[in-house]
């Protein structure tokens, strides 16, 4: 497969890395100015609404990355495609970090708003389960040494963990939870004012670029590792 020619990928990553980094820096400073200074405070929560501009993008991205990993893992499991394994593996760390950020910022927001740091409600608990699945996935890569078995095990972990994704998404609609339902819906008007929606979207784009950067760095490292081992592929 020419598309996955690793030397070519290696070179192009180094070429585009700087552009993405600059673009990320511009977007994130724009997003932070919008989120922390320009956007208004909430009529009820006051300034703690600003936590949302970090919390919501992190949660979205952590779900998105896990979905990508699960999709890749299905292909890896069925077709034994070794190139996709490296992509899935390189996606995991930033997804894990964003899950942690979503949990921690949610806790910081929960204390002044709800009056508690933690609640065993469906949304929060399923998000914790997602965190554990990321952790299992990352640990499995370290624990199992045989190449074939580590690929099978990590793929199965992400495929099984993917069942959790729709449960996280719809938990707030299916059950009564302390966590509020989503403010942004595809089919109906969003319940969030435009002046607050703009920074949210910019921050989401900035965080997505950040995870792309981390992904490219990790992917490069994996390629170097493979080269050092003298293998032509994983």
């Amino acid at each position: 497969m020419n598309f996955f020619n690793q030397n070519k990928i290696f070179l192009s990553i180094n070429k585009y890395y700087r552009f993405i980094l600059i673009f990320f820096l511009i977007l994130s400073s724009l997003g932070l100015i919008e989120a922390l200074i320009i956007s208004p405070e909430d009529y009820l929560q006051g300034d703690s609404v600003r936590i949302m501009y970090v919390h919501v993008p992190s949660a979205w991205i952590s779900l998105g990355i896990f979905s990508c990993m699960a999709f890749l893992s299905v292909l890896v499991f069925i077709f034994k495609n070794r190139n996709l394994v490296i992509i899935a593996k390189s996606l995991a760390p930033s997804g894990f970090i964003f899950t942690l950020i979503a949990l921690v910022t949610g806790s910081i927001w929960g204390k002044p708003t709800w009056g508690t740091w933690w609640a065993w409600d469906a949304r929060i608990t399923t998000m914790l389960i997602l965190c554990f699945f990321y952790l299992m996935y990352l640990l499995a890569w370290r624990i199992f040494e045989k190449r074939d078995s580590v690929i099978k095990i990590t793929s199965l972990i992400s495929i099984i963990g993917a069942f959790n994704i729709p449960i996280i998404k719809f938990s707030v609609d299916w059950w009564s939870t302390l966590h509020q339902p989503s403010s942004i819906k595809i089919l109906s008007e969003s319940k969030i004012h435009e002046s607050m929606l703009t920074p949210l979207i910019i921050m989401t784009a900035a965080f997505a670029l950040f995870s792309l950067l981390i992904f490219l760095m990790k992917y490069n490292t994996e390629l170097i590792k493979i080269k050092n081992k003298g293998l032509d592929r994983l």
Partner: protein, 138 residues
């Protein structure tokens, strides 16, 4: 087109997805009572027997129902069908307000009376600047 092994792995994955999906569906369905974070006043009314355990009830704080006397907070939780009176002494979160969501943790005395030992404010999905709410009020 594809080898036998590929088809086998595909079949394995389909069976895994089906069985796991069904298992999770059934488990969640039978555990519904434990998955929900709080009961509504209507659900309390339909309870067959009074639950002696600690439970949570949630809904809206009824308008003009908050009363404070002798360090005791008295208010009514409503889901616009049924109501339940709640007593509580202690600190309430800043967002505890009339006509806003609330979750109370504590014990049922009877089906109309709840003794809370913890109050959580439930935030809804609306986010807007203060000027907007003034405009809405006018």
């Amino acid at each position: 087109m594809y080898g036998k092994k590929v088809k086998l792995r595909l079949t394995f994955l389909i069976i895994l997805v089906l069985s796991l999906g069904l298992t999770i569906f059934l488990v969640l369905k039978s555990l519904k009572e434990n998955v929900i974070y709080f009961l509504s006043p209507t659900e309390i009314k339909t309870l067959n027997e009074l639950n002696k355990d600690k439970i949570r009830i949630g809904g809206m704080v009824k308008k003009d129902s908050i009363n404070i006397s002798n360090n005791q907070l008295l208010f009514v939780i409503t889901d616009f069908e049924n109501e339940i009176t709640v007593t509580y002494s202690g600190l309430v979160p800043n967002l505890f307000q009339e006509s806003k969501g609330v979750v109370a943790e504590g014990f049922l005395k009877d089906k109309n009376y709840f003794m809370a030992d913890k109050i959580l404010a439930k935030h809804d999905e609306n986010y807007m600047p203060p000027e907007m709410i003034k405009k809405k009020g006018d």
